[in-house]
């Protein structure tokens, strides 16, 4: 089986190139297994990975034009030739490793933590199962970056548009019955860029390896803003 991977080491390469490797296909092989096989052949090949089961979010890559998490992507489902590239739109550090600092900055910008203004009870804050259900499809985000780095609005305005991952987290706290910072959260998203650069292209939702739907979350935030304005 042939797999072509993006190579660029700033220490030695003047410019990036694709390199083809021949690897043996094994039943049940995941793209991460294939990339590890490439690294066995050439230890200078570099990519991030860790848990191997889709929970740590380390091994987001672009394969055949689609962002995905390598460890939960079955090689058998990929059309040959398999072409693996780093996430689009991010500065490449080396091979498949990109600089995600802008992505993390945007995450921090939405104040992704629960805020209570009331004194904390001595036990848990009560929450009904129905209210808790509203967090399903939101809290599971693993910050892999597949969504934001597949979003054209994020490509054009990475410094101004917060991107789907950060906005999904913003909604995760807006939707939490325990959180008491709704007004401040909404005020902070005002303006033409931070939230409203989303043009519902829905690449994010297609790319999410956890089956989450940032577009829908962004829609909820917009609705809530509208309600607040009226």
């Amino acid at each position: 089986m042939k797999i072509s991977v993006y190579r660029y080491n700033p220490d030695v390469d003047a410019k990036p190139y694709q390199q083809e490797f021949d690897i043996e296909f094994k039943q049940g092989m995941m793209l991460r297994d294939a990339l590890m096989e490439v690294k066995r052949q050439d230890e200078s090949f570099t990519f991030r990975h860790s848990c191997g089961e889709g929970v740590c979010g380390s091994d987001g890559v672009n394969v055949n034009g689609q962002n995905c998490l390598a460890c939960v992507t079955s090689v058998a489902d990929l059309k040959e030739p398999i072409v693996v590239r780093p996430f689009p739109g991010r500065p490449v550090i080396r091979d498949l490793v990109v600089d995600m600092s802008q992505f993390y900055k945007q995450y921090r910008e939405v104040q992704p933590y629960l805020v209570r203004k009331d004194p904390m009870p001595e036990v848990e804050i009560l929450q009904s199962p129905e209210d808790r259900d509203k967090l399903d499809g939101l809290y599971e985000c693993i910050l892999c970056g597949c969504c934001s780095t597949s979003c054209p609005s994020f490509w054009w305005n990475p410094d101004k548009f917060l991107g789907p991952a950060a906005l999904l987290q913003s909604w995760r706290f807006l939707a939490d019955s325990r959180d008491q910072m709704t007004d401040e959260r909404l005020d902070a998203l005002e303006g033409p860029y931070k939230l409203f650069r989303c043009h519902t292209i829905m690449n994010c939702t297609e790319a999410c390896p956890k089956g989450l739907n940032p577009t829908k979350a962004i829609g909820h935030i917009k609705q809530l803003m509208l309600k607040k304005a009226i």
């Binding site: 080491n9 700033p10 220490d11 030695v12 049940g28 995941m30 690294k39 066995r40 230890e43 200078s44 570099t46 990519f47 991030r48 990975h49 860790s50 848990c51 191997g52 089961e53 889709g54 929970v55 740590c56 979010g57 380390s58 939960v72 079955s74 550090i93 080396r94 490793v97 995600m100 993390y104 921090r108 104040q111 992704p112 933590y113 629960l114 209570r116 904390m120 001595e122 036990v123 848990e124 804050i125 009560l126 929450q127 009904s128 199962p129 209210d131 808790r132 967090l135 809290y139 599971e140 693993i142 910050l143 706290f173 939490d176 325990r178 959180d179």
Partner: protein, 587 residues
């Protein structure tokens, strides 16, 4: 170029649950904290914990911390230190409520309280009916906790060094620990972080084994670092094999699957746990269930064409329970096995999962070792918490749901103790330059060029040796041979060379440094296992099948220098209640 330096009150190595919980305690007390992690914090392996965290909240059935303590002592096969266990079980409810206040999206009961599920080894009333003590966020509890802790640290403006690899501890002339030399992975540049206190929270070492539930990053870096600093590792022979890893692949299927009502069957469709644990059945503690599965397979009652696994049935639970309570493992089954556990049993086999042993600490997270004044003298400035540490609350076998609890209780306790230490020791102390040179040499060694073996060859052999010589069932001559094999691997390490010595994001170099760590920890494990001539908890000897409290109710200590073994007594006296004396362990 001069070595770059930074100074902090506290350096924390590792950004999993223990490190982040400690960091939060310290940041909120206005201490200057640096958290160093070789991966972005939410990629730490706490993220993979599934089932939940134990606390006697009594939200579902009656419960109290004392019953939790009894279960933990019994689960540990009486090797756990009862002062630390009492402390942990008493703290547990407060710890969980705090987590909830931090935003953890726990599943909920109809009353609005935190959902709690049954887990292995749990009982009401000191060995009575099954308890429901494990607080859960579906089957993604570790993910929910790790992300919430990271989020709270963002709020508290903790200083993070993401993708920095710790090379070695820095000390002063008296051996006090004053920080660490770390490597910025992106640039390949070393950085000296000076700190008044250093907390090691670097997690476990499951990469010792070929089939493991552990992530690629679980290479025991902090544990190997303390070995090199002359500190021993405690009880390393106790390595937990989780009963239900996906057969041949290793992905974890939470004990919560059995807590929700799932059960194991052999090739005859027999619910075999009834024979091994008539009362607790599939919810006996992990060492018991893992041995039962291994025995079924060895005696020819395994499933599949090779008879090499058993089946976990969830198909009687209905799709609602599975979708609501076990959505993560359902995804895992679909992704890696192309089956839906709602209608098809899952092939499972015991899989390397968790190290009960580690860096010896007291219940304040302070690292202790035998020195001039007895077996537990504090190593000044050095703390450890989480899987890398051995308090010891797990003794010979850890109960499911006690690992998340351990990292949170003792991460927090270490943070608290450090706050006190900083008040009494407000100034930085001068470091010993030769300890910096030594740490630097560790890095420089991998610049050697030329012909040699590759990291992957040695790593593959190490894992094979550990699996073949130190697995679920152990025996003298096989382990003695294992030690010989490890000696050879150690010798081979000198001839390993990297073909890639470039600076930028060199993961080959990181893997080489990790392999060095694993080799030392492998030896600690094998040597400790060889010396303990009894069966206790997860340490199961075919040549010494019984527990021997007369000779072996004691902790093992392994020192790197000369591969020396020592022992220290178990703390059988709790803080305020009566001791639980060793009894026959029946489930």
């Amino acid at each position: 170029m001069a070595l770059a330096k930074r100074r902090f009150d506290t350096l924390i190595l590792g950004a999993g649950g223990a490190g982040l919980r400690a960091a939060l305690q310290l940041s909120n007390a206005d201490a200057r904290v640096a958290v160093v992690s070789k991966v972005f914090p939410t990629r730490s392996h706490t993220v993979a914990a599934q089932g939940g965290v134990n606390a006697a909240l009594a939200n579902v059935v009656p419960d109290n911390w004392h019953w939790h303590m009894f279960d933990t002592v019994k689960g540990s096969d009486y090797l756990g230190d009862q002062d630390a266990i009492e402390f942990m079980c008493r703290e547990a409810p407060k710890i969980v409520y705090e987590l909830e206040h931090f935003g953890v999206p726990f599943s909920r009961l109809d009353t609005g309280h935190i959902y709690q599920r049954a887990f292995g080894g749990q009982s009401q009333n000191f060995g009575g009916a099954q308890a429901a003590r494990t607080c859960a966020a579906a089957d993604r509890t570790g993910h929910a906790i790790l992300h919430s802790l990271y989020q709270q640290n963002i709020r508290s403006k903790t200083h993070f060094f993401d993708e920095f690899f710790a090379l070695d501890l820095i000390t002063d002339d008296e051996g006090a620990v004053l920080g660490a030399l770390v490597l910025e992975i992106e640039t390949g540049e070393p950085l000296l972080i000076e700190a008044k206190t250093t907390l090691i929270a670097s997690g476990g070492c499951g990469q010792l084994f070929r089939t493991t539930t552990n992530a690629h990053i679980n290479t025991g870096d902090g544990m190997a670092m303390v070995l090199r600093a002359g500190v021993p590792l405690e009880d390393m022979e106790f390595f937990q094999f989780h009963p239900t890893g996906i057969a041949g692949k290793g992905m974890l299927i939470t004990e919560g699957a059995r807590g929700e009502g799932g059960y194991l069957i052999n090739k005859d469709g027999e619910r075999f746990m009834e024979r091994y644990a008539p009362n607790a059945k599939d919810l006996a503690s992990r060492d018991v269930v893992s041995r039962a599965i291994s025995t079924e397979v060895r005696e020819g009652r395994g499933c599949g064409p090779d008879g090499d696994h058993v089946m976990l049935r969830l198909d009687h639970l209905g799709s609602d329970i599975v979708a609501k309570r076990l959505p993560g493992i359902r995804d895992t089954c679909k992704t890696f096995l192309h089956i839906d556990p709602v209608d098809t049993p899952i092939p499972v086999f015991p899989t390397a999962h968790y190290v009960m042993g580690g860096i010896p600490t007291d219940r304040h997270g302070r690292v202790v070792m035998p020195a001039r004044h007895g077996p537990e003298e504090v190593v000044s400035g050095l703390y450890a918490a989480g899987e890398c540490a051995c308090v010891s609350v797990h003794g010979g076998n850890r109960l499911g749901g006690n690992s998340l609890l351990d990292i949170l209780v003792f991460g927090r306790a270490a943070g608290e103790d450090i706050i006190g230490f900083l008040k009494e020791n407000p100034n930085h102390r001068p470091i010993n330059e030769s300890s910096v040179d030594k740490a630097m040499a560790r890095l420089k060694r991998w610049d050697q060029k030329g012909e040699g073996e590759s990291v992957k060859e040695v790593r593959d052999d190490l894992k094979k040796v550990m699996e073949n010589h130190c697995g679920v069932f152990r025996v003298e001559d096989v382990m003695a041979e294992g030690v010989n094999e490890l000696v050879k691997i150690r010798e081979r390490m000198a001839n390993v060379r990297l073909s890639d010595t470039s600076r930028v994001f060199n993961t080959a170099r990181i893997e080489a440094l990790e392999l060095e760590n694993l080799v030392d920890i492998g030896m600690a494990t094998m040597k400790s296992a060889l010396v303990r001539q009894e069966s206790r908890g997860a340490h199961s000897r075919m040549d010494f099948t019984e527990r021997d409290d007369k000779n072996w109710l004691k902790h093992t200590l392994y020192f790197l220098e000369d591969d020396r073994i020592d022992f220290k007594p178990v703390r059988t006296k709790p803080l305020s209640v009566d001791s639980f004396p060793p009894k026959a362990r029946v489930y």
